[in-house]
């Protein structure tokens, strides 16, 4: 798959100071995907996201409104986790979901550092639901429904480079207004959905102690060790088995109940296997 380089990939910049909390983006999203009316359920998080609400407005201190949605990470944990590749980074950049592949293990929900993917807990045939950055609309050359709907341009669409530059420009122009940080620029590997804000946004992350390492990179050493471990273990076991078998054969001449010839030939053939592995 041919991916856009990180800078050229599509992105969304949300300026928390501009948002008036009208929830037009939420409505636009729901209408675009024909999402059901949402009733808060026992299993809902209090952040307003659900399988029928792919974006939500969270009210924070000082009358600020923060729009929550999938961050479309540059190195998404969900994509690395999904065993069947139902979650993928599309060529354009958005992290999209293929319900035909999904088997419902919900590992993606467990690993997302922002707690984004939601589940149809009330359905007999449930799917994982999350923002797909209006992937179908992007393909038609349109911008996402939410950024289009925003009446005050608090959330805007563009390429990641453009928006990062714009974010830094705004912070520089009004350093007193903003916290000097672009959320999503590089924490947890960076994301395609960026925020600038006058309030602390670390509440969007699960847990407080995050750094810039992406989640998939944490499991990489273990995953790389898989085949070597297998080969080493098979080799060691075959070797040890062979040596011990030899010793025992020398020591005892009778009363072995398993046919030794067979077992020793089996051992040597397995050594061949493990070398290939």
């Amino acid at each position: 798959m041919k991916h856009q380089p990180d800078g050229k990939t599509v992105a969304i910049l949300t300026d928390v100071t501009k948002c008036i909390g009208c929830r037009d983006c939420v409505v636009a999203c729901k209408q675009t995907y024909n999402l059901d009316k949402d009733v808060p359920r026992r299993w809902s998080n209090d952040d307003g996201l659900s399988s029928r609400n792919w974006t939500s407005i969270i009210e924070r201190e000082n009358n600020t409104f923060v729009r929550k949605q999938c961050r479309h990470c540059l190195e998404p944990a969900c994509v690395a986790a999904c065993p069947v590749g139902a979650l993928q980074i599309s060529d354009e950049g958005p992290v999209i979901y293929d319900s035909k592949k999904c088997m419902g293990c919900r590992y993606c929900m467990l690993v997302c550092p922002y707690g984004i993917p939601r589940y149809d807990w009330d359905l007999a045939v449930p799917f994982v639901r999350k923002c797909i950055m209006c992937f179908p609309r992007l393909q038609e050359g349109k911008q996402p429904a939410c950024t289009e709907a925003c009446p005050v341009e608090a959330t805007i669409f563009g390429t990641r480079d453009e928006l990062l530059a714009e974010a830094h420009r705004r912070i520089k122009a009004e350093p007193d207004k903003y916290i000097n940080k672009v959320w999503g620029e590089d924490e947890i590997g960076g994301s395609r959905v960026l925020y600038i804000s006058n309030v602390d946004l670390s509440f969007l992350t699960y847990g407080k102690n995050y750094d810039n390492k992406s989640v998939p990179s944490l499991a990489r050493p273990a995953m790389n060790a898989v085949l070597p471990t297998f080969a080493t273990m098979a080799g060691t076991m075959a070797g040890v088995g062979w040596i011990i078998n030899r010793r025992m054969k020398n020591m005892q001449t009778d009363e072995l109940e398993e046919n030794q010839d067979n077992s020793s030939s089996a051992v040597s053939s397995d050594e061949g296997d493990s070398n290939n592995g």
Binding site: I20, N34, P83, V84, M103, G104, R106, L218, G241, N259
Partner: protein
């Protein structure tokens, strides 16, 4: 005899109730049968059935390694039962997944859709491969009874060592990759558990558990079937296990030390208690007990040691799998529902039944049971009073057990509620229709903060001709001419579907075929549907100025603000005393702080041009 039969009755009862829960899960979804939430997507079924099932199967690879590779012949009596348990453990995993997966019929997707970066992918493949290996490893035992298969059997025995080595290597990967699963959850798993060496810790504890599990099985079956006790063998096994757990504890604490977490163990909170509990159960108690020779060599002592060891590791898996996950502020902790417990118990019971079936019908043990009545090769039974044959014990047992199963399932179903799980939190706010006659009180949610709308006065001003009504009344339900706003805009703040699809499609309703509305050959969705007015000519009154172009009706608040503000923007001059940018000009009630905030939002929308009239309408008015 009665020990086995009593045990089986209990097992079948549990399986029966679990079956009832299973049915409910497939009809009403996971929400109805579990306490899982969007925050806690993995619960007991993964933590116990899957993580525990795999762990319990560790006996297989540990015992085969010691016996076939290190050639410790004294283990001979427990090799076959250990392989059998491993096989059943993995079967339990697959079985548990049938309940836990949202789309279990897609479980085979892992074979064709690959994502080798995923730890779960690795786990899945190891389960599949190892299950196959175990099947081949164990099948010589049942095949012994079928002479037609003798060739295959001898072939399998010939290649046994290869299978064993494959099995050991797969197990190594698999036990450790269960730990790797949680490497991707650095922000959820508490730092006492989250460490880069999780896979190593999981592997060491799996070896420990393997030894403990083999001992436990031997204790259990010798008790149930009154076989001769294998006391000295078990003393060996648990003796070896204690050094493994010592290594585990050293690595675990060493890791905590390196990561600088040792200090935080001194505090008392949920996580330190969990940690302490875990270490006590898994390590301290069994270790101390095994150090006392008297306890180690006695049957009750071994029961204690093995049970603690097994439970300890399973507990560790469950804790890592969910109990030690951090909760966000204000969220409540996950406690499994009773339905979850019963399904887990059901899966275990089913595996136990299978285990009993195998040991009763095939030569899993070299040594026969001491009690002849539980020997598989028994004679038909006779009723004591009438001397009539009640069939072979097998058939009699089946009759009784299926009765137990069916009654238990029936009782279980009684406790299942067919309803979808009730909602909690803020409910939707239904809208009540405007009251009054010449002056309407428009107050959808009846909070008193409504608007007095002089309907009659508007008619006088605009005109009473039918085409004037359509300035506001833009849609009537079929066969109606004065449909209320609240009829479609029936939710205060949310948009709702104004189209009743279920009624149109239902045989009790309109009973029309799909293709009356949807184009053939296209997905049946909004895009392929015709417009309502194709059939309902009277739906949109002629000359309506507000366009209806979607099946969703906006929330009541939005709809009415749009309707009023649009018009008044145009006629602002003619209604001088109505200033649309002042809430109080329409809303005469007291403005509470909450209302004020809400009002500000609405006003910002107005100012940002969101509620503006479209140019055509403006032209229309001029």
């Amino acid at each position: 005899m009665d020990r086995v039969h009593r045990l089986k009755s209990v097992l079948w009862t549990i399986i029966g109730i679990a079956a009832a829960v299973g049915m409910t899960r497939y009809i009403f979804g996971l929400g109805a049968t579990t306490n899982l939430t969007d925050r806690v997507p993995w619960g007991l079924w993964i933590g116990f059935d899957v993580m525990g099932g795999v762990a319990l199967a560790a006996g297989g690879f540990v015992v085969t390694a010691i016996y076939y590779i290190f050639r410790r012949e004294e283990l001979h009596p427990i090799v076959k039962p250990a392989v059998l348990t491993a096989f059943l453990g993995y079967l339990a995993v697959a079985f548990g997944l049938l309940f836990d997966l949202g789309l279990p019929w897609n479980i085979w997707h892992m074979i064709i859709f690959w994502n080798p970066h995923s730890p779960l992918f690795e786990v899945g493949w190891c389960v599949m491969l190892y299950l196959a290996v175990l099947l081949l490893e164990f099948s010589p035992v049942p095949l012994e009874s079928f002479s037609a298969w003798a060739k295959i059997r001898s072939f399998l025995i010939k290649w046994k060592l290869v299978l064993v080595i494959l099995g050991i290597s797969l197990s190594t990967l698999h036990q450790s990759s269960l730990g790797s699963l949680f490497l991707l959850t650095p922000y959820k798993l508490h730092p006492f558990w989250y460490t880069p060496i999780l896979p190593i810790l999981f592997f060491i504890s799996a070896v420990y558990l393997g030894l403990m599990m083999a001992s436990w099985e031997s204790l259990f079956t010798t008790h149930v079937y009154r076989r001769e006790k294998e006391t000295s063998l078990i003393a060996h096994l648990v003796g070896a296990a204690r050094w493994v757990i010592l290594l585990y504890v050293i690595v675990r604490f060493g890791d905590l030390f390196v990561r600088g977490q040792l200090g935080s163990l001194a505090e008392i909170n949920y996580y330190t208690v969990m940690f302490g509990l875990e270490i006590t159960i898994v390590a301290i108690v069994p270790f101390i007990l095994t150090m006392i020779p008297k306890v180690r060599d006695s049957n009750p002592g071994q029961w204690f040691i093995a049970s603690f060891g097994v439970f300890g590791v399973v507990f560790n898996r469950t804790v890592t799998g969910g109990l030690a996950h951090l909760v966000q502020d204000g969220a409540s902790r996950y406690i499994p529902a009773w339905t979850e417990f019963i399904v887990s118990a059901g899966v275990v019971s089913f595996m136990a039944i299978l285990f009993l079936f195998f040991v009763e019908h095939f030569k899993v043990w070299e040594q026969r049971a001491a009690d002849p009545s539980v020997d598989p090769e028994k004679l038909p039974e006779f009723d004591k009073a009438s001397n009539a044959s009640i069939g072979t014990p097998l058939l009699a047992g089946w009759t009784k057990n299926s009765l137990i199963f069916i009654s238990a399932a029936a009782v279980g179903l009684m406790f299942m509620s067919g309803k979808k799980v009730a909602s909690q939190g803020i409910d939707s706010t239904p809208v009540s229709q405007a009251r009054g006659c010449e002056v309407l009180m428009v107050d959808g949610n009846l909070d008193g903060y409504g608007v007095k709308f002089p309907h009659a006065e508007h008619i006088t001003r605009i005109g009473s001709e039918p085409e004037k009504c359509t300035v506001c009344h833009h849609m009537n339900l079929p066969g109606d001419s004065q449909t209320e706003c609240s009829n479609c805009h029936s939710e205060m703040y949310q948009s709702v579907d104004a189209f009743r699809h279920d009624w149109h499609a239902s045989s009790d309703g309109a009973n029309i075929s799909c293709f009356k509305c949807h184009d053939k050959g296209k997905p049946k969705d909004v895009d392929s549907a015709v417009e309502c007015s194709e059939c309902h000519q009277d739906l949109i009154p002629a000359g309506a100025t507000i366009k209806v172009d979607q099946y969703n009706a906006p929330g009541y608040v939005d709809a009415l603000h749009i309707a009023c503000i649009r018009c008044h923007e145009t006629y602002i001059d003619t209604v001088a005393n109505r200033k649309i940018d002042e809430c109080s000009s329409c809303h005469k009630g007291a403005i509470t702080p909450e209302n004020k905030k809400f009002a500000e939002i609405v006003m910002t929308k107005v100012k940002a041009g969101k509620f503006q009239i479209t140019p055509e309408i403006k032209k229309d008015r001029e």
